[in-house]
């Protein structure tokens, strides 16, 4: 069974968003996504400062099996990317919701997060 933390919001394209009170958010891929991809070998992440629109491709997560685009769950500006994944992309398999966040963004409109799926709804989507 895939792990779906209750405190995150989810995109149908299998990214999660963890919104902080200051309007920043961490973005990563879900346990379901990492499990579907299999052994992850490379993460191509955006440039710091890049402006992303909701639904836009912000990078690529690649596994032995396939390279898969990842999509911004909400609009925002990239504040930081997870450099630790350069050397250890397999962390995305091991800790998709914690150590292996992909990027930190300044969310353009924090209210947009409410438009994403709840854990319960994402669970139904991936059941």
């Amino acid at each position: 069974m895939s792990n779906i933390p209750a405190d995150l919001r989810y995109a149908k394209s299998h990214e999660w968003l963890k919104l902080a009170a200051d309007g920043t958010a961490l973005v990563g891929i879900t346990d379901y996504a990492q499990n579907s991809l299999g052994d992850i070998t490379f993460a191509q992440l955006p440039k710091v400062g890049a402006a992303l629109k909701a639904g836009e491709t912000f990078g690529v997560v690649e596994s032995v099996k396939a390279a898969s685009d990842v999509y911004a769950p909400v609009s925002g500006t990239v504040l930081e990317v997870n450099k630790a994944l350069d050397a250890n992309p397999e962390k995305i398999n091991q800790a998709p919701y914690t150590d292996a966040w992909l990027m930190k963004i300044k969310v353009a409109n924090p209210a947009d997060a409410a438009g994403l799926l709840s854990a319960e709804d994402y669970g139904k989507l991936t059941a």
């Binding site: 299999g38 070998t41 490379f42 690649e62 032995v64 390279a67 398999n93």
Partner: protein, 365 residues
């Protein structure tokens, strides 16, 4: 779509968490836990692969050797009972029908091991070519199960299950014996570049044999390994895979397998064309490369020269879990292979460093 075929271990794979995929019409585990971990286990300890999907054929009769000499490119007259030969068989135009192992059981009695995806094609081809020779070609694929136990600890593991002295069977030799009470053809071969064995048993004994190997495997660090690791291990070792480095359009000379093409044994199917290709120099060649980058360079990716012109195409590509960079093989114009070559991966140009495989030191005996 027809139903995929299953090996005797299908339920075993599912019970062990195998992630099942369709491979050449067979329902097979691509991995159990992790392709990368299974790969590393085989390089450092040992892994168990179900290779029961591979095909087997008997070639029997007074003219079996004469037929095989006509059929395949390598010299089967070098065989003696208990000896195995790697070879290819070609079409008259030089393209490859399949690559295979030839086991000599006795005079006039040979066992062939052929690729799963080619069984029907190979059997039809061989039976057609055997006309006029006093020998028979019989498909035995359904009668055999086959397990590969590969890795530096593989022989020690299997030795705990058999009275046969595995140290006494050299690389590319075989013996009949019993493993875990199951009658087996014990073959010192493999597709990983590591030491190990391949065990051919009666199809109905395969589950019992696999369970016994797993039960004995703990102290040897055995992992179940799927087709994903099988593919990355063979590529790291520089072994060809039918449909990639060799096809009906890629000859053994082009593929760098000239060492299995023996013109001095006399004419065989394709010999004229292959000889001409060898003498003229192949117009294209298979090269192996690494990139120094983790982005996988997948099959079908165009290979570019310094000017950006396409001079070839990638035929296999993966990430080596041992050297932690992308490795692969490509079919390129022979003249271009001396120039710097590149690929474009999602907008990033990567240089190909050509490598004479294996990509990692191998310990095969």
């Amino acid at each position: 779509m027809s139903q995929p075929q299953v090996t005797p271990l299908n339920a075993f794979h599912r019970a062990h968490g195998g992630r099942m995929v369709d491979f050449a019409g067979w329902d097979m585990p691509v991995q159990y836990k992790s392709i990368l971990e299974e790969h590393k286990a085989v390089r450092t300890r040992c892994g168990l692969f179900d290779v029961s999907h591979m095909g087997e054929a008997d070639v029997k009769g007074p003219e079996a050797l004469k037929f095989l000499q006509h059929l395949v490119t390598n010299d089967c007259s070098k065989l003696f009972p208990g000896r195995i030969l790697y070879t290819v068989m070609c079409y008259p135009h030089g393209g490859v029908v399949d690559d295979l192992l030839v086991y000599m059981r006795a005079e006039g009695d040979y066992l062939l091991c052929i690729n799963a995806g080619n069984i029907a094609k190979d059997i039809a081809w061989m039976q057609e070519q055997a006309k006029g020779f006093n020998c028979t070609v019989t498909d035995r694929s359904g009668d055999y199960g086959q397990l590969a136990i590969q890795g530096p600890a593989a022989a020690a593991l299997v030795q705990t299950l058999t009275q046969t002295d595995l140290g006494g069977i050299k690389y590319y030799h075989f013996a009949d014996g019993e493993v875990a009470g199951v009658k087996c053809l014990i073959s010192r071969t493999g597709y990983t570049g590591e030491d190990g064995v391949e065990l051919y048993c009666a199809a109905g004994d395969t589950v019992r044999l696999a369970e016994a190997v797993v039960a004995a495997g703990g102290p040897f660090g055995l992992e179940l390994a799927g087709l994903g690791a099988r593919d990355s291990l063979r590529l790291e070792a520089g072994f060809p895979l039918y449909g990639h480095e060799i096809t009906d359009k890629i000859s053994p000379i082009t593929a760098g397998l000239g060492w299995v093409v023996k013109f001095d044994k006399g004419p065989f199917i394709g010999s004229d064309v292959l000889k001409a290709e060898k003498e003229k120099g192949a117009a294209r060649k298979i090269v192996f490369f690494k990139t120094g980058d983790r982005r996988i360079v997948r099959a079908e990716t165009p290979v570019l020269n310094a000017a950006g012109a396409a001079v070839g195409i990638v035929v296999s590509g993966t990430l080596s879990p041992i050297i932690n960079e992308a490795i692969g093989s490509a079919l390129v114009e022979a003249a271009a292979a001396r120039e710097p070559l590149q690929v474009d991966i999602r907008g990033t140009r990567l240089n190909l460093s050509l490598v004479k495989p294996p990509f990692v030191p191998l310990k095969k005996s």
